[in-house]
Amino acid sequence: MIGAPQTKKHPAVNVALQLWSTHRWTLLWYWLIFVLAMIVICIFMYSAGPEKIESLDESYWLESGGFSPKIFLLVIGILMTPVSLASFVSNGVTRKHFVAGSTMLMAALALLSSLVFAAGSLLESLVVDWIGFTVKMGHPPFFRVLVEQFFLFAGYSGTGWLIGSAFYRYHWRVGVIISVLSFVPITIMEILADSAGIVKLLELSVTPPAWNFGLSAVLLAVITAALVALNYYMLRKVSIKRKLI
């Protein structure tokens, strides 16, 4: 007889913890390098004098620093299914628990990233006030930056995840089509949050709707949840493939 089963964590929590253990150093190193680079850039910017700063009407941190973490999380999302799904399923984890655990991890990565990002924006605002420039740059409230960036970061990682899952499940031609379509939700999210990212990259000229922050936040949450649901839909019956990466 096989001995009594040991008490284990819930499979979804276990997936999240194992993935966290895989990604934590990457995340830490990324943010360390990013923050240092941004500080150096900001020092150069501010040392250029008030004329230069006063020509800016938006937070430099928010305006220029937002795109890189989004791409970083997009790439982590792209790799999620091809690298990890087979490892977990071959260790007795269901696809459903894999999706739940991956969602937890991505939420945690988005939360940490948005915290660092919002804190950076707040710090920049304090520094600008402290050095006493006459023209203040537009700094949205900390909580608003935190919430919007959380959903945007989650949206980018969810988009990447969708791309990775599409290429894992379908023929590459279908993968390409889904990849292109998967940028639609994140584009809408950026318009809702009036954020620099893909909208700026594509030089789209869209006026953000004049909704209040609460409604935008709800819509951002709904789109993020839809991205997770789409991923689950694609993976719930997917066959486990031979090692891809």
């Binding site: 007889m1 096989i2 040991q6 284990k8 399923v89 260790n91 007795g92 090692k243």
Partner: protein, 293 residues
């Protein structure tokens, strides 16, 4: 805990091609099964369905009375180890073991560490830098230490050298005696492993050719050797799987029990009756245009 496996009319298609077609079998728990078949016979596909790596196209699978696909209570009871494994190449050996330890409910860490040491697997090395034999050994270590009630090894030991393979067979048998559970071994090295099998399942071209207890299967095969004319006369009407001729002597492999009367007749005619190795039976049964079954 042992779990029974029941498969009814199982079919798996890849596009228009049927990899498994109408397979029905019952595997009571707590035995070592040998799954044999030629390349492309559907072995890995069948095992993938049992392990919920893929869903069947048709038919029904029950493990412990429940459908296994996406069933959390069943999938963590079935450990399926393939030769190339499914752990990401970038993982270190210790990461792969840590992941397995966190997932399998009956994980035996002491056994895992003992096997890693036994097969001299460097814990800090990344999987991509391991040799084929080392990757196989890692699969063996994870499979045995998982203590999953159903443990499946699909050609996992092909990359291992002979001493490592024999040591694996010993470990498997010892662990099976101490912790009875179901093992399914799919292999082409039939002669090496056949002594472990309690039951043999043979697939051919996606269909179930036979499922039989190993001893009973062995007794079904008889080689009859003697002067060609006498052998031909004796074997007339029997199910002949194959024959060899050397000068005036002939040896035929007969499938099916001869019965006491036939055996007496053979002895009276001076014909020699002998056992047929499982591998030979398998070869005869599965070769194209092979004997009637």
């Amino acid at each position: 805990m042992t779990l029974d496996i029941e498969v009814k009319g199982l079919g798996v298609s890849y596009g228009r091609e049927k990899a498994v077609d109408g397979v029905s079998l019952k595997l009571p728990g707590g035995k070592i099964y040998g799954l044999l078949g030629r390349n492309g016979s559907g072995k890995t596909t069948l095992l993938s369905v049992l392990a919920s790596f893929r869903e069947q196209s048709e038919g029904e699978v029950r493990i412990g009375g429940e459908a296994p696909f996406e069933n959390a209570a069943i999938v963590n009871q079935v450990c399926f180890i393939q030769e190339n494994g499914h752990i990401a190449e970038g993982y270190r050996v210790k990461d792969a073991v840590k992941l397995a330890a966190s997932c399998w409910p009956n994980w035996d860490e002491a056994m895992a560490q003992r096997l890693l040491e036994h097969y001299q697997l460097p814990q800090k090395k990344r999987i991509q830098s391991l040799s084929r034999g080392m990757k196989s050994a890692l699969g063996v270590a994870v499979g045995l230490a998982s203590r999953a009630p159903i443990t499946i090894f699909d050609e996992v030991y092909l990359g291992m050298d002979a001493p490592s393979r024999y040591s694996f067979y010993e470990e498997l048998l010892r662990d099976y005696m101490e912790h009875p559970r179901t093992f399914i071994l799919s292999t082409h090295l039939i002669d090496e492993v056949s002594n472990l099998f309690e039951e043999v399942i043979i697939l051919d071209q996606g269909r179930l050719l036979l499922q039989e207890e190993t001893e009973s299967l062995r007794q079904r095969g008889v080689s009859v050797t003697g002067p060609a004319a006498l052998v031909d006369e004796f074997a007339a009407g029997l199910n002949i799987l194959g024959e060899q001729r050397l000068g005036g002597m002939k040896s035929v492999t007969v499938y099916g029990e001869l019965g006491p009367e036939r055996e007496r007749q053979a002895h009276a005619q001076g014909l020699e009756l002998g056992p047929v190795p499982l591998q030979d039976l398998f070869v005869h049964l599965t070769k194209k245009g092979g004997g009637k079954r």
